[in-house]
Amino acid sequence: MSDHAPRPRLARDLYVTQLRIRRFEETVARLFAQGRLPGFVHLSIGQEAVAAGACAALRDDDVITSTHRGHGHCIAKGGHLGRMMAELFGGRDGYCAGLGGSMHIADLERGILGANGIVGAGIPIATGAAYAFQAQGTGRVALAFFGDGAVNEGAFHEGLNLAALWHLPVVYVCEDNGYAELTATDLHTAGPGVAARAVAYGMHAEEVDGTDALAVHDAVARAVECCRAKEGPALVVAHAPRWHGHFEGDPQRYRPMGELEEARRRDPVGRLGHRLLAEGWADESWLTSVTAEVEAEIAAAVAFAERSLPLELEAMLHLAGAEASW
């Protein structure tokens, strides 16, 4: 996707991306509730605009690192829904051949350097990719997604200091959904906030409504521009509440009354849909048809995943380069 698309087309693209994330994850929630998906699953419903807006500001050859809550990032960067879904099922046609699961989905061809089960770990990795891009002189940019909780890991600090010191072309996107697992942000992050921390490393920082995909896009596009102009790094904090639990199955008893209702009122998908209609950028029939297309795509992804068998152990050892070591 290009950051030079005219506004209406950009808005429509962002809508489609968000809808694909939303429907993909709703489907995952349902499959998980039916006991058909193993392991942990973390959903980003309510936060789709961050993934969609940020990735729309990147070139195809730019790269991202993602998190345990990474389906949206992967979809927005062009990940294949069927291979993602197959991975969640543990099938051999999944992105990781079923060896990684939700928290490790990666697609190097599309610049998705990987979701991550370790909070904050993607930050130095994106920083390193940016170092490579700088050394290679290719003008590519790396973008690290991470949550509000991740900013208290040493990895955040060490990564940002390195990037600022070396003026690396990396954009840090902090998705503030108000919680680290079950603990509210004000219980884990001291001081005036994440943007202020970035400023203390001497980098540009901006805050944005993370339920407004266009606003996220614009903020990240400015940050990317900075990087391409060799004035990086930059940080964007996008605030967007999550609707689901920390993981599927989390009863969310720790959330205050009314918070979820309030969150749903800020629905990033519905909101952009209204805007499309209000601005005359799309009409109802367009909305209906993209919805149908997305639903068909998801159904195909599930069908693909359902057909995918798990690897055999011997094949796993082979992929790992470990045949000889059993």
């Binding site: 079923g98 490790h104 089960g117 370790i118 991740a150 208290n152 040493g154 798990p310």
Partner: protein, 326 residues
């Protein structure tokens, strides 16, 4: 008195009782406070003992283990929770270079009564970064004690012993056993470094490390059906190692099988096998049953074959007995 509790409830009860008994005992960790722990182990404790003694922390594994070291030096007896033992990778400086070495480095003057509780996720579909069993790393560090409770009773007793110990102890709790029910007797003596003979037997000694116990027990039953009388030892502590217990069993049986969920190469079984071969005239070579030398796969069918199951343990028993189908 004997009570029946689930494994996690046993942890919870041990914490509550120790906090009641000794006002110096405090709990810190991600989500341990208001939410009562990501998996419930600290439920009700903040309400009961107040926020000074039960604190939710940021996601800062190095910081909170270091906080525990300092608090221990200053007179508290902190119990720090690090959610999964995979995340100890972030805290090993404070654990291995500080907590473990301070007694030695100060010529015996400083003591660090710190407990780090952490989960071994092995076998619960948690994948490569949440499913490791890193006890061998910890056991290799002079100055650390390493407890691996495999039953609800041990989850209770070993944790209490750990909290009363004046040196740092890592308690590796088993997520696989989390909901297991078991009988808990009050009066058990609180000793560190005592293994338990779970089943007497005459033909061979099977040493089980941590969460492998139920599979080892099942293997004993299967083996009995084949006429092999297995003596089952639950190691319980990797350090101090109850070698006396293992050796006295070996002197009777002359045969050793070891099972654990850690990777075999340089795993706990290596040390046990080496010692057995060094110190006892065995009737047959030791057999180690462990995962292959790869990370933990996500797909359930692979994970099932990755971690040693009862069948593989029985096969090892046959082999050590010289049966051709071993």
């Amino acid at each position: 008195m004997v009570t029946e509790l689930r494994y996690w409830q046993a942890v919870n009860r041990a914490l509550a009782e120790e906090m009641e008994r000794d006002p110096r005992v405090v709990l810190v960790g991600e989500d341990v406070g208001t939410p009562g722990g990501a998996f419930g182990a600290t439920r009700g404790l903040r309400e009961r003992f107040g926020p000074d003694r039960v604190r939710d922390t940021p996601i800062s594994e190095l910081g909170i283990v270091g906080l525990g070291v300092g608090a221990a030096l200053a007179g508290l007896r902190p119990v720090v929770e690090v959610m999964f033992n995979d995340f100890l990778t972030l805290a090993l400086d404070q654990l291995a270079n500080q907590a473990a070495k301070l007694r030695f480095m100060t010529g015996g003057r400083a003591r660090v009564p710190l407990v780090v509780r952490t989960l071994v996720g092995a076998g619960k579909g948690t994948g490569p970064q949440h499913g490791q069993s890193l006890e061998a790393w910890l056991g290799h560090v002079p100055g650390l004690l390493v407890a691996m409770p495999a039953t609800p009773a041990d989850a209770y007793h070993l944790l209490r012993a750990a909290i009363r110990c004046d040196d740092p102890v890592v308690v590796l709790e088993s997520l696989r056993q989390w909901n297991l029910r078991g009988q808990i007797a009050d009066e058990e003596p609180l000793e560190v470094g005592r293994a338990a003979v779970r089943r007497p037997g005459a033909d061979l000694t099977l040493v089980s490390v941590g969460g492998a116990l139920p599979r080892a027990e099942r293997a004993c039953e299967l083996a009995a059906g084949e006429g092999i009388d297995v003596e089952l030892i639950d190691l319980r502590w990797l350090w101090p190692l109850d070698w006396a217990c293992v050796e006295s069993s070996l002197r009777k049986t002359g045969r050793l099988v070891v099972v654990h969920d850690a990777v075999g190469f340089l795993g706990p079984g290596a040390e046990l096998a080496a010692r057995a071969a060094e110190r006892v005239a065995l009737a047959a070579p030791v057999v180690r049953v462990a995962p292959p030398r790869t990370p933990v796969p996500f797909a359930p069918s692979l994970e099932e074959r990755y971690f040693p199951g009862a069948e593989r343990i029985v096969a090892a028993c046959r082999k050590v007995m010289g049966r051709s189908d071993g």
